[in-house]
Symmetry: C2
Subunit: 347 residues, 2 copies
């Protein structure tokens, strides 16, 4: 899950608006990079190199971006507090990736060996733990306990969402409400807290911090559904990763749920068997049926509803500095979704 | 490691002094049990039962005992702050056990299935993460960031110590300094912070909190060396666990280091081969040589040095309420060590 989220992050870059946004937060991301490099020194000397391996990634730092955008104070203004908060959420995210890769038996992430492959799964379990601990340690360096309280709770929720997903692999009796609950916990939760912290630490009024919180929640839900769609209708070459893994690992996601609703009884049996790890069902076959039945458009509608909800919570805060960038972030995701789904549903 | 620590904890109980001590902290441990049961409710409903499974243990709550003893305020005085701190360190400890059992492929702990066996290793990785997160969340409920800061740092150190040990399994080139560094991080660190928090949260002067910190450190080192000795010279029936696991899993501990120093070149080769996972060397053989060469007495000396150091830091605080109980705790361990080693070295 986190794997695919992270890889899909990379797609935001080529977009022109995205380029504009990333241009504006470049100093912030540079400050974050410096912060993370310095953080490496806080690990015990004996594990420093391993920590550096996990922290030095080519990821797009999407959660830090949420912090910086929601706490935007004008071009070139890089607040130390925001950088620290961004470091916390990114380190939590990287810790979850280290553990995800153990569970997925993943060997490669972003063109190099996963920590699990590089250091062995046993060391990777402990290394992920050390990253979680250090993330909370950074969180404890704020003047009050608030960041620690919020981030530790979010981290627990992210883990809970992943436990649910892990335990319900190959289960086809997942309701839409349960699916939404899982993606809320495993993905939207950290997006939500990232946006809240950005707004809050920039000294915005509670009403805007609450709006940023809701914005992050909706954007996170939209993002995860988009990511689940990519897994089915994306083009491997363009996306740069192996697709169809949700079906292969038995994860019931929205595209598959819609597909199951619309196919014949026979087809349903074949898909269910594939999901349960029985008869294999190739990605091309399911991708073809997705197209024929116009599944993508149904999924896209669900994503767009979330994006509309995300932007609408900002309605009465248009005069605040972060809002134009937050809208841009939402618009960027909308464009990516449109680019992804358009060719997939057309004959 | 944590496995053997936890199991060895159980041995403290039958001792008479121990009985006296545990009688006095009975209300504290009862309050802790109630606190832990209530904590279960803070986990997401979907994982609550799994969290309860991990938290409801028959362990001796040794780290909480350190908190209660170092923060002793008189019989029957159960401070809410101490109970909360005890809950934090115990939950961190239980989280490490969940992850240790995955790495050790352990199936049984305290007469029932490990979380890894019960829920599968993937879910257990995440469940351990959720426990860590919740421990830090409880830590964030103190008025200041101090508990969060100390506990997150300790947790990182515990993990670092375990990483070192994991990476150096089957390595015979571990120096005494490196061995001490590993046990300091993996075991003494959490003992240390438990004692410090007890003293600190009871409002003692910084000088006593610092002494409690040192006491916890030395007791933790002593405890881990004792635990390593148990693995070689303990009697399985009396101890109630499988012994000789350090040799089997390739962990170089103090008893083995002393043995390697004293045997002939041929014997050394055989032991090294066993440690490296080559030719098997039965526990009886190594146990016999331990006896013949009087290894236990050398190890006991190392433990006693730590216990002397532990008690000596309390010298100028004899008038404080916690000190008699802290001395008793040290004395209890000394008696256990004596009971363990006496028959082992005699012919």
């Amino acid at each position: 899950m986190a794997n695919t989220v992270a890889q899909a992050d990379a797609q935001l870059a080529p977009n022109t608006d995205a380029h504009g946004l990333f241009e504006r937060i470049r100093p912030h991301l540079a400050a974050l990079d410096a912060f993370m490099r310095k953080e490496v020194e806080n690990f015990e000397p004996e594990i420093r190199e391993m920590a550096a391996y996990c922290l030095d990634t080519t990821g797009k730092r999407l959660r830090p971006t949420m912090v910086f955008v929601s706490g935007w104070q004008g071009d070139g203004v890089v607040s130390e507090q925001l950088v620290r908060a961004a470091g916390v959420v990114e380190m939590v995210h990287l810790a979850t990736l280290v553990h995800d890769d153990i569970m997925d038996r993943a060997e490669i992430r972003r063109s190099r060996r996963t920590a699990s492959r590089e250091f062995g799964p046993d060391a990777a379990v402990l290394l992920g733990d050390a990253l979680f601990s250090q993330a909370l340690h950074i969180a404890s360096q704020f003047p009050t306990t608030e960041v620690c309280r919020l981030v530790s709770e979010s981290t627990r929720k992210v883990c809970s969402g992943e436990i649910m997903q892990t335990l319900r692999r190959r289960d086809i009796n997942i309701s839409l409400a349960e699916y939404r609950r899982m993606i809320d916990l495993k993905t939207a939760e950290l997006f939500r807290v990232s946006c809240f912290l950005g707004a809050r630490l920039s000294g915005h009024a509670p009403a805007f911090a609450a709006a940023a919180d809701r914005f992050g929640h909706h954007l996170g839900i939209a993002y995860q559904i988009y990511d689940d769609l990519v897994d089915f209708v994306g083009e491997e070459q363009r996306i740069g990763k192996t697709l169809g893994t949700d079906l292969a690992t038995g994860k019931l996601t929205l595209p598959l749920m819609l597909l199951l609703e619309r196919v014949s009884a026979d087809e349903r049996s074949a898909i269910v068997a594939a999901l349960r790890g029985g008869r294999p069902l190739g990605l091309p076959a399911s991708k073809q049926r997705m197209k024929e039945l116009g599944i993508a458009s149904g999924v896209v509608r669900a994503i767009e509803e979330e994006l509309v909800a995300a932007v609408s919570v900002l309605a009465s805060f248009g005069q605040l500095a972060p809002v134009p960038l937050m809208r841009l972030l939402s618009e960027m995701l909308r464009q990516q979704v449109a680019a992804l789904s358009a060719p997939a549903d057309s004959p």
